[in-house]
């Protein structure tokens, strides 16, 4: 292998350009060499716990799984890519069948893609094409939620409420309506769950009426809000009420399960916790465990039946949407998840994880902890009584990330928790194969990292 110190530092562009250009590559941007189970190893031999599933809720079955590598090689030697305009292929057919087996009942149809943004964009297209065929041609507005994240292509960004990723592209985004999220820690209405009358769900009804139901195509939401809010699950009554409101106004419900699909929350799909049937599910990450880019759109039977009856060929799709290699990887990952009861493990290990996180509430800066299964979040505040956040420029979340990273734990840091700009949280999403003692290790490192950041707080920022 090449000597990393001799590489052209300018060739690779990461998110943070300054890392590549101005800082020392060796110190600041460790190079991953291999992964095994829940661990990643860099070229210096340092070990890291992958506490956020490959850093963005991807890794389900863990790293370096030999079975996946073996089937991948076998499939590549057989057929890696075949012309989808005139041929089908076996792995593609089989994977769609396997997905149908674990999908919510009545969602037996799957369209495969290569990433979460492709999935949410194509979900909206399926919705639009369905309503178009039903002669509801005015229905196009998609209602999303603030602090919802549905992807980084323009259609996906338009329906997202992720301020940091949206703001400089304002004039290039389309029309979309946003309602506040179901986020009890900072309830938009200043209410308390139990006596709140579910104002956050009722906000959908108001938005649909204001926009005009004849214009509203769909509502899109993450069952457990991921990147932009830090693993916030909705209260039990929320999605059943959302479903009712959607039905009342003939609005489709798209569940964005890019993060929550395939067992991340301890159930097959996130919506299963609420026993709600969406019309469309967009899902990605866990389906391939990161071994190859793979995503899927799951459709309710009524949508496919109508499109088929109308001979309305789907006008979405991308180059890699039927490639046999990615599908073969997906099959193996789903088999491993089933054989090793990893969804059960995700539920079982989620309990000590959340319990351990609750202990972190003793820290003066930990304002809230939450989660579902192996998707958990910690929100940081300057003052626990007032819930006042740290100034955004202090980059509190990023400091937690760096301190944890230095101690061998990778977490995903997010900001904008409060209002799109202020607020800091981290997202934890370890591989489903994590054990209880590994959960303890993760928690211990996180505890130390928080302590370290708190110790280095300048006096004027102390609560």
């Amino acid at each position: 292998m090449m000597d990393v110190h001799e590489t052209t530092k300018q060739a690779v562009i990461g998110w943070d350009l300054s890392r590549v250009v101005f800082r020392d590559l060796e110190r600041d941007y460790p190079v991953v060499e291999r992964g095994e189970g829940i661990y990643l190893y860099d070229t210096k031999g340092r070990r890291y716990i992958d506490g956020s599933g490959g850093s963005s809720v991807v890794t389900s079955i863990g790293h370096g799984n030999k079975r996946v590598a073996a089937v991948m090689a076998q499939q590549a030697a057989t057929i890696a890519f075949s012309p989808a305009h005139c041929f089908a292929n076996q792995p593609h057919i089989q994977l769609c069948q396997k997905i149908a087996e674990i999908a919510p009942k009545g969602m037996g149809h799957t369209f495969l893609l290569s990433g979460g943004s492709e999935a949410t964009e194509n979900a909206v297209k399926f919705a639009r094409q369905y309503e178009f065929e039903r002669n509801n041609r005015g229905k196009y507005t998609v209602i999303g939620r603030w602090q919802g994240f549905h992807g980084n292509t323009f259609g996906a960004m338009t329906v997202s409420g992720h301020t940091y990723r949206r703001r400089i592209y304002g004039p290039m985004l389309g029309h979309s309506v946003k309602i506040p999220p179901c986020y009890c820690y900072r309830c938009e209405w200043g209410l308390t769950y139990g006596s709140c009358n579910l104002e956050c769900a009722r906000a959908l009804k108001k938005a649909i009426r204001q926009e005009g139901p004849e214009n509203v195509l769909a509502f899109i939401a993450e069952p457990v809000v991921g990147a932009a809010l830090g693993a916030v699950p909705a209260v039990p009554e929320y999605f059943p009420m959302i479903r009712e409101i959607c039905d009342e106004f003939d609005v489709l419900f798209i569940a964005d399960e890019v993060m929550t699909g395939f067992g991340r929350t301890g159930a097959n799909f996130g919506v299963d916790h609420w026993n709600v049937l969406p019309d469309i599910i967009a899902t990605a990450k866990g389906i391939s465990g990161g071994y190859t880019p793979l995503a899927a759109v799951l459709l309710r039977d009524k949508i496919m039946d109508l499109l088929r009856a109308h001979h309305s060929n789907f006008r979405g799709g991308h180059t890699y949407c039927a490639n046999p290699l990615s599908a073969r990887v997906g099959i193996e990952v789903l088999d491993i998840i089933r054989e090793q009861d990893l969804i059960g493990n995700s539920h079982r290990m989620g309990l000590p994880l959340l319990e351990g996180l609750r202990k972190l509430l003793d820290h003066p800066t930990v304002g809230d902890v939450r989660g579902k299964g192996l998707m958990a979040g910690v929100e940081f505040v300057r003052n626990k009584q007032t819930k006042e956040p740290f100034p955004p420029e202090y980059q509190f979340g990023k400091r937690i990330f760096e301190e944890a990273f230095a101690r061998g734990l990778v977490v995903f840091a997010g900001s904008g928790t409060v209002d799109g700009v202020a607020g800091d949280h981290i997202l934890l999403a370890p591989p489903f194969i994590i054990t209880e003692s590994q959960v303890d290790d993760l928690l211990a490192i996180l505890d130390e990292a928080i302590t370290a950041v708190e110790r280095s707080l300048p006096p004027e920022l102390r609560g």
């Binding site: 060739a11 190079v31 890519f81 071994y291």
Partner: protein, 448 residues
């Protein structure tokens, strides 16, 4: 009923079980010559051991890490290698997973580039009709493909479009070279009419892909486009998702014109279909404007810089070099173009065009007037299926290339390892198919 959703809900798709070199085999053991390279994707051929070995080795080390926390060796090595393939000054690479991600990222970087330089009003992207830049909403906004925009128009940005450089059906009714490349001048007219203060970039496929397969602008076209872009501070994005990494017989399609774009998007050939992979390549001036400014970008997706995909890409680039396959794409492409041109002896063959191994054949009801067949005659579908019956795969070009409704053509984009014998087989199959379709629609007798 199958759980799988195909794009065409009525068609019965044969199931492919195996591929080797330029051939695909279905479940019944039938062999097909892959004359489309998957879909302008496969270049080194199917089942190449060197690629599989690189893939397997990387899968066993680490298949995935997120670019937010770590670098990885394959991504670093691939970007460095790719930087040796590019036109001068294009050395900065962002890795992605597909063509739509690449063009959307280029679009966003164009916006960011102007913002960083204090030009907040420049965000609109000019493109061409009869073009395709991807199927996500931003990419589709730039795509001049009416049929696919269809019911999604309410979601699309109203970006300006200019006419394509489509000499066979010149939008101005002119003839090259007396036309003085009016189709390039159209860019200046549109920029001035729209107002240069709102225009961030112009995007074009150097050689047009599936929207009008193989259409290649004249030599003056891109140099003139470059001048116009420079005059109005508009970035030129070469969308090389199809033409990049050797398909045209040069490293990048734009190399045929000796023009340096500000950004290149590339995808398909970069991994030869062995893994979803794409890239945006930035010219120094674009990269440096951002690096000097905020030095941050919100670009990127879950699988940006995916180690496994990158290892595959690196193996493909090395294989292409080791076997001199880009040169072969040029050599076989010239032979294929010559052989296809001979098909113009059939009255339904209107135009044959292409550069390297991205070629197209356009069909007409009347060669003299170029009158198209009525869309309901489904000439494209008939040709593609008749060729398939002969055991050869070609891809239907987008229908309606003339006016969004009428116009028939096919795309031919074989792997770069195509041999002269493969060319013979392809041309013979096409010859037979054309004769069959002519009998079906009665063209031979009616004379158009």
């Amino acid at each position: 009923m199958s759980a799988q959703v195909f794009r065409d809900f009525k068609r019965n798709y044969p199931v492919i079980t195996r591929g080797k070199g330029v051939f695909l085999y279905d479940r019944e053991g039938r062999a097909y010559l892959d004359a489309v390279g998957g879909i302008a994707v496969v270049n080194v051929g199917h089942g190449v051991p060197e690629i599989i070995a690189a893939m397997t080795e990387q899968a066993q080390r680490v298949a995935f890490v997120h670019g937010g926390a770590f670098a990885n060796e394959p991504a670093m090595a691939l970007t460095e290698e790719l930087a040796t393939w590019t036109p001068a000054g294009l050395r900065h690479v962002m890795l992605l997973s597909g063509g739509s991600e690449a063009t959307e990222t280029a679009m966003k970087l164009a916006r960011q580039y102007h913002l960083e330089r204090g030009k907040a009003g420049k965000y609109r992207i000019v493109s061409r009709w009869t073009s395709y830049h991807g199927n996500t909403i931003g990419a589709l906004s730039m795509s001049g493909r009416t049929a696919w925009r269809g019911e999604f128009v309410p979601y699309l940005q109203s970006f300006p479009k200019i006419h394509p450089p489509y000499c066979y059906r010149c939008p101005y009714g002119k003839t090259y070279p007396s036309c003085q490349v009016a189709c390039a001048e159209d860019l200046e007219r549109v920029i001035r009419l729209e107002g240069p203060d709102s225009i961030a970039a112009f995007i074009a496929e150097p050689v047009i892909g599936t929207s009008a397969a193989g259409v290649t602008p004249p030599p003056e076209y891109y140099p003139r486009i470059r001048e116009i872009c420079d005059r109005y501070d508009v970035l030129f994005i070469a969308d090389e998702v199809i033409t990049g990494v050797g398909r045209t017989g040069r490293n990048f399609g734009i190399d045929h014109w000796g023009v340096i774009p500000d950004m290149i998007t590339t995808a398909k050939a970069l991994s030869s279909g062995y893994a979803p992979l794409a890239a945006v390549i930035l010219h120094d001036r674009v990269y440096e404007a951002i690096a000097r400014g905020s030095a941050r970008t919100t670009q990127g997706f879950t699988y940006s810089g995916h180690p496994l995909s990158a290892a595959v890409g690196l193996a493909v680039l090395r294989y292409l070099r080791a076997h001199d396959l880009v040169a072969n794409a040029g050599r076989i492409g010239r032979l294929l173009l010559e052989r296809l041109a001979a098909l113009a002896r059939y009255p339904i063959v209107g135009d044959v065009r292409g550069t390297g191994l991205i070629l197209g054949v356009e069909f007409v009801a009347d060669q003299a007037t170029k009158r198209p067949f009525p869309p309901e005659a489904e000439i494209t579908r008939r040709i593609v299926e008749a060729v398939l019956e002969e055991g050869v795969v070609v891809v239907p070009g987008m229908s309606g290339l003339i006016d969004s409704v009428a116009g028939d053509h096919i795309q031919i984009s074989p792997p770069y390892i195509f041999s002269e014998a493969n060319v013979d087989q392809l041309v013979a199959a096409l010859d037979t198919a054309i004769q069959k379709v002519m009998r079906e629609v009665g063209t031979a007798r009616a004379g158009g």
